[in-house]
Structure formats: C-alpha cells, structure tokens
Subunit: 349 residues, 2 copies
DNA sequence: TTGTACGCGTTATCAC
DNA sequence: GTGATAACGCGTACAA
C-alpha cells in the first residue's frame, strides 16, 4: 500500500521560498514575523495538508503537551467524571490526555508511572491505588520538575499539589444528618484506613457520635476491603441479624450503601423507618434505588478540571518550595428518602 | 530548582565502554547482541535510572506506541468500560492510550482527530459522535496507513475495521421477548436514525412486530434526540396518557428505560403487569431500579479489548484491500422483573 | 558481535 | 524580519 509522505516545514519552506525557521516561527505565532507572512504561511500549510509533528516538537522541547492520568479504574462513575473533567480542560488548552489504570494494584501503579514518564508528560494526575503506601515511584517526576497532582486519594507524606474534598467534615455531616433523623445506633461501612479519604470519613463519623453522646461500638464499624456490592450485602445481613442491630448506616461509598438498602428490604427491614442509610459520592444509582439514597455529593468533574488547571498553570518557580498546595472542595449532604425519617412521619400524620 | 539531567543511551555507552548503538540494541533485545551483554547493559540502565524517551523513539520510527481513542463522552457506563478494555489490552502490549471526547459534536470530533494525528498515534479507535455524517477527517489516517477501528457507532460508508454487536438481532430479540410475555402494543424509544446502532435496533423491532402480526403505529415509535432520562420521562408520560397506551416498551438504552419504569410507577401504572419494559446496555442502574430492568447485554469491555487487538495486530499488508473487516459480537437478553409478566402470574396462582 | 554516522521534524540561538 | 545551524535521543544501514 502506498503511504503518503508527510508534509513538513521543509516542504512548506521550499514551496514558499522561506527558510524552515521562518515557517516554524510563523506557525507558532512568533512576534518577529509579520501578520501578513503568518497568514500566508498558515494558509499554505492548511492547503498543503501540513500537520505538526508533536513527537519532534516534544523531543526538541523535552516535553509533550500531554497530561498523564493514573487512577484505579475508569469504569466507576466518580473516576469517569474525573477524567472527563481533566480531558475537557486539557483539550481546551491544546493538551492531550494519557490514561492508565492501576486496578488498585501497587505494582501496576509503578509500571504505569514509568510508562507515563517515558512519554515525557507535562504533568501527572494521580488517584492512589488502594495498595499504595510507598511513594518512591513518583520521585523521578519531582526530580525532573514535572508537577504531580494527587486527587481524592492522596498521600500523607509527599509534597505536591493536592485536590481533595473535606472528607472529615463530610463524614461528620453525614453522620450528624442521621442523628438528626433520630438514629441512635449508627453503623459505619469504612474503607481501607490507610487511605486518607476513608480514614477521615471515619474520623468524622466518630466525632459526630461522640459529640452527640451516641455509642461507639466496634461491631458497628465494618472494615471493608473494596466497598463492593457483595461486601455490603454480607455486612448488612450480619448487622441486621445481630442481637442489637443498628438503626442507621453511614457507608463510605454508594455501592455498599445501595446494597444495604436492597438487603434490608429483602430481610423485611424498612428503610428508612427501621434503618436509615446514607452513602457517599452521589453515583447515578443513588437516585434510582428505592427508596432513593441519601448521599454526599462529590464534585468529580470539577476536581478533574482543577487538577488539570494546576498542571497547566504550573511554572517551575512555584514548585521548589517543598510545600504542598492543597485545594479543598466543598461537599453537600443530599438528603433523599433513605434517611428522611421525619418526613415520612409527617406524611403519615 | 535544580533539575536532574536525563540519563540517555550515550551516558550508558560512556559508562560501560560500549557504543550507543550497542546500548540501543541491547535495550531492544536485538538478536545480534549476546544474552550476557544484554543483561549487563539492562542492569546498568536500571541502576543508573535510565528511562527510554518515547518521543525520540517515536520520532525516529514515525509512530509512538500510542492508541488514540475518540468517543462521545467518558462518563457513561458503556464508554467507560469500553475504554477500560482498550487500556488494559494496550498496556499489556506496552502501548499508551490517548483519550478524547467529542461530546457528540462533529466539530470536536474533527479537531480531536487532528490533535491525535499530530501525536502520530499507532492506531485510532472511534465511536462516532451523534452528529457525524461526513468522514473526511479520517482520511489522513488512511493515507498514512494508520489503522482505524470503529466501535459500536460505526459509519456505513467507510472502509476500515469495525467492532459491533448485532443490533438488528438484539432489537428483534428484545421485542420478541416482550411479545412472548404477552405484550400486544409495544412502543419503541428510538435513537437518532442516522446512527447504525439505533437504526438497526429499530429495524429489528419492526420486523419482530410484523412477523407476529402486531400493530406498527407511528405514535408508538418515539424518536429521541439523546435518549436521556428527561426525554424518557416526557415520552412515557405522553404515551401512558394517550387514548390507547402501550403495554410494552423497548427502549434503545437503559437510561430512558429506567425513566419509563419510574414514570409509570409514579402514574400508578404497574410494571410489568400493565407495562413491560426492556432496555439496552445492561448499565448498573438496570439491576438497581425496581422492578429490575430487563435489558440487552452489551459487551463493552470486550469490544474495547478486541478493538485494541485489531490495532496491535494490524500490519500494513492487511490494510490496502479497501475492504472492511467487521467483528460482530453476540448479545444476550437479560430478563429481569420489568418484563417477566408470566412469572408474576405464576407466583400469584 | 559491535561501532560509525546519519536522519527523523522541530525549535532555540546566533547572525545578518 | 529572516536565515543558517545545531541539538533534542534514538534506531538503523553500513562497515568492520
């Protein structure tokens, strides 16, 4: 098969009787080139089907106008929206987005890190895998002055940009919301405690209980591995069958929360009357399940946009302070049927 | 801030008293280099913190070990899973994945196409935007022998790889399923008819009705713009309020199908007894809504994996035939509560 | 089995 | 305002 040869700035130069440098400058809107020449050259480029070669430009500049993204899995509502926000912002600025999934494996995270590095990305956006504890694999980016933005699941011990929500307050508010609905024994579905997000949500939960004089019991706190539907199902069944079952559950994600609702219904436990439930994330399923799931909003797309902006705005000067620059976004309690006991009571009055 | 200089094959060459070419060959496992030397060089590379520069290699080879993905939106379950499948397969083969969203706009699709081209991707995977009719913007890939794989939403008039499901059969089977459940007046929520997927699903719907002697009525076929929740809601309300409402709905996606279920329930119409519903895609919400939504499975992740494989396996020789190579995957009817009238009847007997 | 030399397409520097 | 030249890091044809 015949393959068309590529049109380069040399071809343009020959065609227009300019030097390659002039062509290059014109295409990049260099100020030393007259408007007229720029217009002329750009039109010719368009007509001759010229397309810049990012590889060559990247090699020359030692960076590639590409943002690398390293997350656990794409096919989760939160992550998909996060990437969507990153992509949109990056593209508007003329940047490409490289993605990679760790599947929550430390090993994968390391190797993906390397591959992204090999592409000489302009910056890296990371949401840590469940397993990750060590942070060495990110050092090479720092050494080269490549900005890293950690989103949502961030490290405790690594200086960089961070974009997070206030997980503590969110956890506190979610729990307080259940308390306000009259719950006296509130269980918590907790995620891996070495990850900031889950640890802080739990802290908020604990403080809310304490401040309101409610019991803190080990058997009301379930430590999940992945906060999956199956795990949630099992945990709920066990809780509801126990001698002294909870009358409320604060789950650290929506998936497990929904499983709790469905499990309770199956067991004949009424939600929210006998068991109020609140989740976290505001996934699409939250408004579909019945009763609809109360939850905490999580501005995924916005977090993505901000993360991308951080990289685009990054200048080498702002980076050597060895200090973390943290952006904290607000969240909101979204009260739906799964927790609104009082409303129900009022309706039946 | 001090930035570490990069380690190149020249540094390795100097350090090990080899020529750069030997280093290059060793790192690429060239057969002319002895096992021993390869091992020696690789270990030294590792130790000295050498990392290949994909930009330079890409420039040299005129391609970048990168697969470009061009889709409408990432934050839809089907698309997220598709990308997930692509990414997994690509990464195993040492390829990177560049993503871009068209947001269903023709203009964006064109400009994203160009940007991806500028990065000299190895191959392109595309699911067409809703708007796209013209296909010129893909021509430059063909001219350069860069393989294109169209997935799911594919063009009718463009030779390339295609990975699809049998939408006609799926539409036919879904409709037939409703007929078997005793439905006599079946409505259809149809997507944009210039897109193969929606057109064929509708064709299957029509043929199933015809073959079973059921009425085909214009007012039972609703043409949607985006198959959104809101659109579905409105359409359902209108249908159920009509003089002669349907007793079944086949929706071309799950989002609209779920909205139909929720709308019907709100209006006091029992699902599936008075209105059976079947959707398409098997999104997570399908198994959460109540009654759970019958639907058609859509092997998103597998389609992604196959698409990526197509590009990885592509060799220049297999491409100049001007013929489309189409991969058709099977689907399955997933019968859940929203359509199983008979089961309900049996239960109450 | 290894080395030399060149070029991939671009841009920054220096010169005019 | 424009041109000549070198350099980015790598892979390979050719030579040894």
């Amino acid at each position: 098969m015949k393959i068309k040869k590529e049109v380069t700035i040399y071809d343009l130069a020959k065609e227009l009787n300019y030097s390659p440098s002039t062509i290059s400058r014109a295409l990049n809107n260099h100020k030393s080139i007259s408007k007229k020449t720029i217009k002329l050259i750009k039109e010719a480029a368009e007509e001759m089907g010229y397309r810049p070669n990012n590889l060559a430009a990247g090699l020359r500049n030692n960076k590639s106008n590409t943002i690398g993204v390293l997350i656990s899995r794409i096919n989760r509502p939160f992550m998909a929206s996060l990437i969507s926000g990153i992509e949109e912002t990056a593209r508007k600025a003329g940047y490409n987005v490289l993605i990679s999934q760790s599947n929550d494996k430390y090993e994968n995270e390391i190797s993906n890190c390397n591959t992204l590095y090999d592409s000489r990305i302009t910056g890296l956006i990371v949401s840590l895998s469940m397993e990750t504890v060590e942070m060495e694999h990110f050092q090479k980016f720092v050494d080269k002055g490549i900005p890293i933005v950690f989103v949502d699941r961030v490290p405790d011990n690594f200086n960089s940009y961070k974009v997070v929500i206030d997980n503590y307050t969110a956890g506190y508010s979610a729990t307080k919301h259940l308390i306000e609905q009259g719950c006296k024994r509130i269980a918590h579905f907790a995620g891996a405690q070495h990850r900031n997000v889950y640890r802080e949500r739990k802290k908020g939960y604990l403080d809310a209980l304490r401040e309101h004089g409610l019991p803190i019991e080990d058997n009301l706190m379930v430590n999940f591995k992945t906060l999956s539907f199956e795990e949630g199902n099992k945990a709920t069944k066990k809780l509801l069958k126990s001698a002294n079952p909870p009358d409320g559950i604060f789950s650290a994600n929506d998936t497990a929360a929904v499983s709790a609702i469905m499990c309770a219904k199956k067991m004949g436990v009424e939600v929210p009357e006998q068991l109020a439930v609140i989740g976290f994330n505001d996934d699409p399923i939250a408004s579909i399940v019945q009763p609809s799931l109360s939850t905490v909003s999580h501005p995924a797309s916005k977090m993505g946009a901000i993360s991308a902006k951080r990289i685009l705005d990054h200048s080498i000067n702002t980076y050597d302070t060895g200090v973390s620059e943290v952006t904290v976004l607000g969240t909101e309690i979204i009260a739906r049927d799964s927790s609104l006991k009082r409303t129900k009571v009022l309706e039946s009055e």
